[in-house]
């Protein structure tokens, strides 16, 4: 069989062909929506038309079989239309209300998790991890799985004060949303890279490797036509390794997972925020990372108990103050929490007012 004629620079298919007729008709005319359950909502148009959305979880790393399975369901109930969300969930879209119950039943029967709408834990934005990336200090898919096993009820039913957006990134490149998430995990190293002087001259561009280091820890080693790393200055970020493969940094015993909390992206109320460090390091303990799961659970539960309605994690922490956050969660406060990077000064307490 010969390969067909390639085309270039055509861009993606036009979106219109993928929009269900009810959307084409009511495009831009939606008036309001209602959350019918943890995984079902209805949007109502100015015209009175309705569209129902049933959302189910996806592990994101999916086989073609999975895609075919959801396609079959979409054919059966949704005239062949479906979409994915910005957090990797699958959305079935129907205009025919009578199909809502049968669809949900079939989904449940097939073991799909329906949920993630509203003030709940939704699916995680995450990354490649050990499945595909050379840079990963931890696995992403595994962490997502163990977290969501733990928080399953918060996806399918239980409510929280507000949305809680979790994310995982397997290294400090943070492909994803870790830097602005309610609670997020990031894979970290704890030892400087060990220069491989044999490979550096061939595989690495010296100036750009030196330039990649945020702390200026790398200098040329002209004798070896290689690089030197000042261990005192290195904070194991791995950026040099992104640029130069001959600076391996992975270390099974010392790599692990850091937890950051309190970030968000929406401009609602008090605006987008960066996540802040709360656990500098927890061990990589696959396959189920119990220390990490417990830590996240601890934070989520304290939040659930203490926050006000509509208050995101970061808003809650800012209201009570970080000193209180550490008290309530019992997370030990260490030197690692005190910023000494670019904007350190802005994060120190320059006031005589704080809580005991």
């Amino acid at each position: 069989m010969s390969t067909p004629q390639r085309k270039t620079d055509i861009g993606p298919p036009h979106y219109k062909q993928f929009l269900p007729p009810v959307i084409q008709k009511n495009y831009g005319q939606w008036k309001y929506h209602e959350e019918l359950s943890a995984g079902v909502m209805v949007h109502v148009s100015e015209s009175g038309d309705e569209i129902y959305t049933v959302r189910v979880a996806s592990p994101r790393l999916i086989s073609t079989d999975f895609i075919r399975e959801i396609s079959d369901i979409a054919d059966k109930y949704c005239d062949g239309y479906l979409r994915f969300t910005s957090r990797h969930n699958v959305e079935f879209l129907l205009s025919d209300k009578s199909k809502l119950e049968p669809l949900q039943k079939e989904l449940k029967d097939k073991g799909f998790a329906i949920g993630g709408i509203g003030n709940r834990v939704s699916n995680l934005v995450h990354t490649q991890g050990w499945v595909h990336c050379h840079s990963a200090a931890t696995d992403a898919s595994g962490l997502v799985k163990v977290l969501m096993d733990e928080f399953y009820d918060y996806f399918t039913s239980k409510e929280l004060p507000s949305r809680v957006r979790l994310a995982v990134a397997c290294c400090t490149n943070m492909c994803g949303a870790v830097h602005c998430s309610d609670i997020a995990l990031v894979g970290v190293h704890r030892k400087p890279p060990i220069p491989d002087h044999e490979r550096i001259p061939n595989q690495c561009e010296i100036p750009s490797t030196i330039g990649s280091c945020p702390t200026g820890a790398i200098s040329p080693d002209p004798a070896k036509k290689s690089l030197k790393i000042n261990d005192e200055k290195c904070m194991y970020c791995g950026n040099c390794y992104s640029v130069c493969p001959a600076l391996p940094i992975a270390d099974p015993d010392n790599d692990g997972v850091a937890i950051v909390v309190g970030g968000k992206v929406g401009s609602l109320r008090n605006g987008p925020k960066f996540s802040k460090l709360v656990y500098p390091w927890l061990p990589n303990n696959p396959p189920r990372w119990p220390e990490v799961v417990n830590a996240v659970k601890g934070i989520l539960e304290v939040y659930a108990k203490n926050a006000r309605k509509h208050e995101r994690v970061g808003e809650w922490v800012e209201r009570i103050g970080w000193e209180k956050f550490f008290k309530l969660t019992g997370i030990p406060f260490t030197f690692q929490h005190i910023d000494d990077f670019t904007f350190a000064r802005e994060t120190w307490r320059t006031s005589a007012a704080f809580k005991w």
Binding site: T3, P4, Q5, R6, T8, D9, I10, G11, P13, H14, Y15, Q17, I23, G28, W30, H33, H43, A57, S58, L61, S63, D65, I67, R68, Y81, R83, S86, V125, G129, W130, V131, H132, C133, H134, S135, A136, D139, K145, V146, Y152, A177, C180, P214, N239, P245, A250, D251, P252, V265, G266, L268, R269, P272, F274, N284, P286, R288, K309, F341, F343
Partner: protein, 393 residues
């Protein structure tokens, strides 16, 4: 087909209620040697607590500088199926709407020439076809492109733009996120497929300040819908919210960041002049409150992940821009921005970092935008600023 890899550690991740990626991998492994070896390689990572991938070399399809991420195993003898295991980034349709027939077509191609594993979707937005061999790339591309699909971005290039569901299924969208995304993607095909930038450049488009695609945190250029005008209030619906148990003072009035809402138990009032259009009240009382007046977008520039000096959020550059096809204004602005970046940007320097290094004035003057208080949270503290000679005596 060889025997299924033994994966005692990973097997544990088939337990528990959340759908299992391991199960997905096994489904693929049943059909694909690559996926079977991927399972084995991943089990090895779980055992060794470290990655077994090497840096990717440059692989791709003819005429394109990106769209494929090269990947090689560091233990190919043990797992020959993933000796090469490159991923193909396919440009998703706006807002991730699909028809099942197209999905099945892609599945067919991928089962035939790839691992049968995918990511729906990558965190930039692409459909990710996870893992194939170098020799299959051209065929895969021909199969895809002949059916109307193209590759997404990678490397120092424009990355695949993405957007929220917007007008397709959301009552709050102030702009046509899907159309803008499509139009920008089509306009800048060359910039996406032939990396020529100092570093990556991402667009994300959200219909309103809720920002359901995290544009403000994850796109060098965030296009976020907004309005100029008064919030329309349906007082009857306000009463209905109250009756249904909403504590309007606690949930709305007190949470309004600008404290421009008052509620006397009967009527809700908004001092629109003081509203910052944050969307809080509108999202919590969607039946009662709606934006009013002229629609457009705020353009924010510069966000990126932590390297090198720390993560940045995007900052307001154009407070309000009308957004109508063919979107000439944003396209021209973008070209100007790229010109400036091209001129001054260092290798691996994101636009946000360059603006910080060169200063906002330089940037704004080049792209022809006047200073505006919306660009800042607060004015500078230190009286250390520049003057141009024509400002002096």
């Amino acid at each position: 087909m060889s025997e299924m890899r033994k994966t005692p550690l990973l097997d544990d991740l088939e337990k528990g209620p959340w759908p299992s990626f391991v199960t997905e991998m096994k489904k693929a492994a049943a059909k694909s040697e690559m996926s079977n070896d991927l399972l084995g390689a991943l089990e090895q990572c779980y055992k060794d607590k470290k990655t077994h991938w090497k840096h990717g070399g440059i692989v791709g399809v003819r005429g394109y500088g990106g769209g494929v991420i090269g990947r090689y195993s560091d233990i190919p003898e043990q797992f020959p199926g993933v000796a090469h295991f490159h991923t193909v980034r396919v440009n998703q349709p706006s807002a991730w709407f699909y028809k099942t027939d197209s999905l099945r077509e892609i599945c067919g191609i991928w089962d035939k020439y790839g691992s049968g594993l995918t990511n729906f979707h990558g965190s930039t937005g692409d459909m990710i076809l996870l893992g194939t061999k170098t020799e299959n790339l051209e065929t895969i591309f021909a199969e895809l492109s002949s059916r109307g699909w193209d590759l997404g971005g990678s490397g120092s290039a424009l990355r695949t733009p993405s957007c929220c569901v917007g007008p397709a299924r959301c009552e709050w969208s102030n702009i046509d996120t899907l159309d803008i995304t499509y139009s920008l993607t089509e306009e800048f095909q060359d910039e996406m497929h032939r990396p020529a930038f100092p570093y990556k450049y991402k667009f994300k488009v959200s219909g309103c300040a809720v920002d359901c695609v995290a544009a403000i945190a994850r796109a060098d250029c965030a296009i976020i819908g907004t309005w100029k005008g008064d919030i329309k209030i349906d007082q009857a619906e306000v009463q209905r919210y109250a009756k249904n148990g909403m504590d309007i003072n606690a949930e709305i009035v007190n949470m309004c960041p600008t404290k421009c809402i008052t509620y006397n138990g009967k009527e809700l009032k908004i001092e629109n002049e003081d509203c910052s259009r944050c969307m809080h009240c509108i999202t919590k009382m969607t039946k009662a409150l709606r934006p009013g007046g002229e629609r457009g977008a705020t353009i924010l520039i510069g966000s990126h992940a932590p390297f090198v000096k720390g993560a940045q959020l995007s900052q307001v550059i154009v407070p309000f821009m009308k957004m109508e096809p063919p979107y000439t204004e944003i396209k021209e602005l973008t070209r100007k921005i790229w010109e400036w970046w091209d001129e001054y940007g260092k290798n691996r320097e994101r636009i946000g970092e360059l603006i910080e290094r060169k200063g906002m004035r330089d940037f704004l003057e080049y792209i022809g935008v006047d200073p505006h208080p919306a660009m800042i949270k607060e004015p500078r503290r230190d009286p250390f600023y520049f003057w141009t000679t024509d400002e002096l005596k």
